[in-house]
Symmetry: C2
Subunit: 336 residues, 2 copies
């Protein structure tokens, strides 16, 4: 039965390649998938046929039988607005995406925070659609990673799980980074050093606050949520309560930028009157006036590590719950 008539797509199939190469379907499949069990001659013939016909394997057919989708979700638990406003995400996405592309895996980007989006997302994240998921910006004690693992979807997250949960993760050493920054402020002779924190339902927010406390103990603290506006509001509160403040550690560059605006409004010079340090070493840090001293996270490397760990899980090289914590680096500019 030569099924050569009703091919709507016009693309050549495995079968046609086999015919052309004068071998069987199995052999072509073996060549395409890089099996060793093929004679050099057959391999050559198949490769020629593939080149001549311009054959590309049909992904749907392959997925149907292997139950593998060759695609990976990148899930961000933030509003779309926030996702695009915070440089951290952009950099992670780029890093992850470039590794994924190189491995011929498709990246499905999902941004979801609202309850209804969240529900849709949970419905979508099955073996049916993705092999694994990279989880960004998890809040609190989110049960999703657990749920996914139970469903057979491999997960890797950014940030150490907050409670007793387990799970593979990649993180920057936020606590040490914060410690370095605050230590630097102190070494520059600052006496009253305040912190503007990130959200405390996130591991990164807590760790950066811990790092601050490691150095100055119970100093003045105002709470933010990583966003620029929250940084401005926090700075405002700090100035009201602690007018003597002469050093500020903000847990994100965006918040530092917000703080900077408020400081200027209040006539405080940076760094003369108040020294200011941000976190992330993002583009924002370069574009403020003055440019921000900031803690650099190795974001590209974090992205690469995440994918590496995920692929290891997918390949079944089960290392259990792997943890990778990468060092940060203080980048000194003019704001402190």
């Amino acid at each position: 039965m030569t099924a050569e008539r009703n091919r709507a797509s016009g693309r050549p199939t495995l079968e046609e390649v086999a015919l052309r190469a004068g071998v069987g379907r199995g052999t072509v499949s073996r060549v395409v998938n890089g099996s060793q069990q093929v004679s050099a001659r057959a391999k050559q013939a198949v490769e020629d046929a593939i080149a001549e016909l311009g054959y590309v394997p049909n992904r749907a057919a392959r997925t149907l039988v292997t139950q593998r989708t060759d695609s990976v979700a990148l899930v961000v638990f933030e509003s779309g607005e926030r996702f695009f406003a915070e440089p951290f995400f952009g950099r992670i996405v780029q890093a992850v995406s470039s590794v994924l592309v190189a491995r011929n895996l498709q990246m499905v980007l999902m941004i979801a925070q609202a309850p209804e989006e969240r529900r849709r997302l949970e419905g979508y994240l099955t073996r049916q659609h993705v092999d694994g998921a990279l989880l960004l910006s998890l809040h609190g004690d989110d049960p999703l990673p657990h749920l996914l693992e139970e469903r057979g979807v491999a997960t890797v997250r950014v940030g150490r799980p907050m409670y007793a949960e387990r799970g593979t993760f990649v993180d920057a050493d936020n606590r040490a980074g914060a410690r370095d920054a605050v230590g630097y402020l102190r070494s520059q002779g600052r006496r009253c050093i305040a912190a503007i924190t990130g959200p405390l339902d996130m591991a990164a927010g807590i760790a950066r606050l811990d790092g601050y406390r490691d150095v100055v103990g119970d100093g003045p603290v105002a709470f933010g949520d990583f966003s620029q506006d929250s940084g401005a509001a926090a700075m405002y509160r700090l100035l009201e309560q602690y007018p003597e403040v002469d050093g500020v550690f903000a847990a994100s560059d965006a918040m530092a930028a917000g703080a900077l605006r408020v400081l200027r409004q209040y006539g405080r010079r940076v760094p003369e009157d108040v020294a200011l340090i941000g976190f992330d070493d993002s583009a924002i840090a370069l574009h403020t006036e003055p440019p921000l001293t900031s803690v650099d996270q190795p974001i590209a490397e974090m992205g690469r590590e995440m994918v590496r760990l995920l692929l290891a899980k997918l390949d079944g090289d089960d290392e259990g719950d792997a943890e990778v914590v990468l060092p940060t680096r203080l980048v000194i500019r003019e704001s402190a």
Copy 2:
């Protein structure tokens, strides 16, 4: 490791639903796909069975037979850095993605500018992988839309094709928007109004310059590329050449923000000495000091329109080459 490939997913199949509902496979398929040719009783039974079993259709199987992937590419011809830096893209992505999600279509985001990424992208964009593509930020006379249409991949772009090419597109009325902005500057009594243009290999860049020229004719112009830095550089050049400038129309908010920085450096007060208007009405416009007067593009609506046009094409409601041009709106704040 157990190699229990078959039925690893554990998910119910069409066949099982049919069994449960006491009907045939065909009937279940009809219900799932919303066919009218089903009796109310059968429909009810099938729906119950689906609910009980938690059945979800297998996408790969469906794709295999229908040759439809139910996924749509959103392609951005910019560097990743630029993509995340410019608010326009974020807003479009959100709009497009929400419509797509509602229609149960998957969005594949592709950011590609480098030649090698470009090549990979061309290889990927086939009927094999996507049903259609939304094209953003096309430069010059890019042949890609043509190529894709030939391959049977439907396309809709943002921005009027630049040369004789045809193609379905959605656009804001950039020229009128620019005209309004510059007209407003003039109506405020500004005498020497300059323009900072976008890239002139893009339709939007040209149209905004045209709108400027409609009002002031052959006034002072400096060229940018929509980015903040290019705006700063352009402003710098303008001040050198035309120190008497008292109004500036920048073709993007990012460039306006850059210009603002330079104006401040040069001791020019905004808006007292120089009135400044941006374009996009993005978040940037709100966060500068003073907030920017800016031209609002109906981005969400553009996103929605793009998807609508694409779906119409996919459904074969061939309207030929549809064009949708949406009005802009001048949002007056403090910078002018």
